[in-house]
Amino acid sequence: MKTTKAGPRIVVDWTACDGRGLCAELLPELVSRDEWGFPLIPEPSVPASLRDHAERAIAACPRLALRLAST
């Protein structure tokens, strides 16, 4: 595990995610999509500068599949 400053991590509830892709549109700095449309988040730590964008992406997910985890 990479140890960037322990900011919150963005995590996916894979059982809920349907690959709609809003997260990748709203938070392209952290989220891209795999060939089936599901989110790819290589570095899940959310820097302070992106915190608002991350929260907006989480709120916009129609499947409520994104969360911020504290550790």
Partner: protein
């Protein structure tokens, strides 16, 4: 479905010196009287004493992950609400039979252990989650007899696990007992906080509980007299494939893998490779088998772990790619289908492997492609099914590298039609 309870698991293999669970003879202790003659009653002890035994013995889980029992107990004790305890005997792994063996031959040790963890957590409800091939009526009768004899202050309900590879995954267990399908769910909150019907839940493998029942009688120091200091005690192993006496054996943690094969009668043909830990496990070369020891720390440098104790020997005449291909197709079918990367990725990976295993038409591109897709599925599911499946595949491609080249050249070393890795429990 009514299924033979006893006769379906071979148990003729010799029992190791520290055969805590199998000793003194592999004969059945399903009769309560036979159990009490062999082991006596569980000494009276309070919740703290049970927890202390779990700490002092160093007992870890025997379902695959090897997590210390005392930490699960502490998490459940610390959580708010009345606890529930579950003995997990789902054993969805087709190559494993040790949990069925235990529930057939040593059910009272498992149930004694279940009462001990119920006491430690002050639980109000207990469940026995049993492999689909076991007879629920037999287990229910046995529980009624125990209840009548005053052995079970917390009543136990038997729940049949569905016939599925992932039915024993902790969150799937909790979902099924709560009345839903046996499917994994998002891991937060943990089942120790919110498990069965939202209550704090301890899910523990049946072998772990049976060992706790023995520790309660004989003490933590007795348990630590087997195994190694950092991996104390014994474990049950299901040894299959190219060995002369396939079946269940019991051995101390840290035992050389070669000794385990010897306990199962030794290799029946020239040994090519061993699969350790089941279909989410790791392949080892015949050379690695000569020095590998069965403990988590000894196996870590080989990328392996004892897992839930599956050991399958592959002999000359079988083809590792053909065996792996059948298993990968099975694992793809066993995806719960909830998580996109697993649902979409595993069938593609299985097909690429099939194209190499049968005819080699996929060529080197297919090998590269299955590894690339593997990189996409790993770590992206609610459970570890994609991760475990890729551990199996990647280690196999390493161990069977020469066979891969043979297939790319349009050949195959297979001369026997034997199936080494079962993808459904036979009989």
């Amino acid at each position: 479905m009514t299924i033979l309870f006893d006769e379906d698991v071979q148990t003729d293999a010799e029992v190791a010196a520290h055969g805590a669970l199998m000793g003194p003879s592999p004969a059945s202790q399903r009769e309560l009287r036979a159990h009490l003659v062999a082991h006596g009653a569980v000494p009276a002890m309070d919740a703290n004493a049970v927890l202390r035994l779990a700490v002092d013995s160093g007992l870890t889980g025997h379902g695959g992950a090897g997590f210390p029992l005392y930490r699960k107990l502490e998490a459940v004790i610390a959580a708010r609400g009345w606890a529930i305890v579950v003995a997990n005997g789902a054993e969805g792994e087709p190559a494993s039979a040790k949990d069925r063996w235990l529930l057939a031959r040593r059910p009272h040790l498992v149930l004694d252990g279940l009462q001990l963890v119920a006491r430690a957590t002050n639980a109000t409800d207990a469940y026995l989650y049993a492999n689909h091939r076991l007879d629920v009526a037999v287990l229910t009768d046995l529980l009624a007899e125990r209840r009548h004899a005053g052995l079970d202050p917390v009543s136990v309900t038997v729940v049949a696990a569905p016939d599925a590879f992932i039915s024993g995954e902790e969150t799937a267990v909790v979902s099924h007992i709560s009345g839903s399908a046996a499917l994994p769910r998002f891991k937060s909150p943990r089942v120790t906080e919110r498990g069965v019907r939202g209550r704090p839940t301890l899910v523990s493998n049946v072998e772990t509980l049976a060992l706790l029942a023995l520790i309660a009688r004989r003490g933590a120091a007795w348990f630590r007299s087997a195994g190694t200091p950092d991996a104390p005690g014994t474990m049950l192993l299901t040894v299959g494939g190219a060995v002369r006496a396939p079946g269940i054996v019991e051995t101390g943690h840290g035992t050389p893998l070669a000794d385990v094969l010897a306990l199962a009668g030794g290799a029946s043909t020239h040994l090519e490779a061993v699969l350790l830990g089941g279909y989410h496990g790791t392949w080892l070369t015949a050379d690695e088998v000569t020095f590998a020891k069965l403990s988590r720390s000894d196996l870590a440098p080989l990328g392996a772990s004892p897992g839930a104790g599956v050991v399958v020997a592959m002999g000359a005449g079988t083809c590792g790619l053909v065996e792996m291909s059948r298993v990968m197709s099975y694992l793809a079918e066993e995806s719960a289908g909830q998580c996109g990367p697993c649902l979409n990725g595993l069938p593609r990976i299985a097909n690429e492997l099939k194209s190499v295993a049968f005819g080699g038409a996929g060529g080197r591109r297919a090998v590269d492609e299955m590894l690339r897709l593997g990189g996409i599925v790993v770590g992206r599911g609610a459970c570890h099914h994609p991760d475990g499946s890729m551990r199996f595949l990647r280690s196999g491609l390493r161990v069977f590298a020469a066979e891969v080249e043979l297939h790319l050249a349009g050949r195959c070393s297979r001369t026997s039609s034997d199936v080494v890795l079962p993808t459904a429990v036979t009989r």
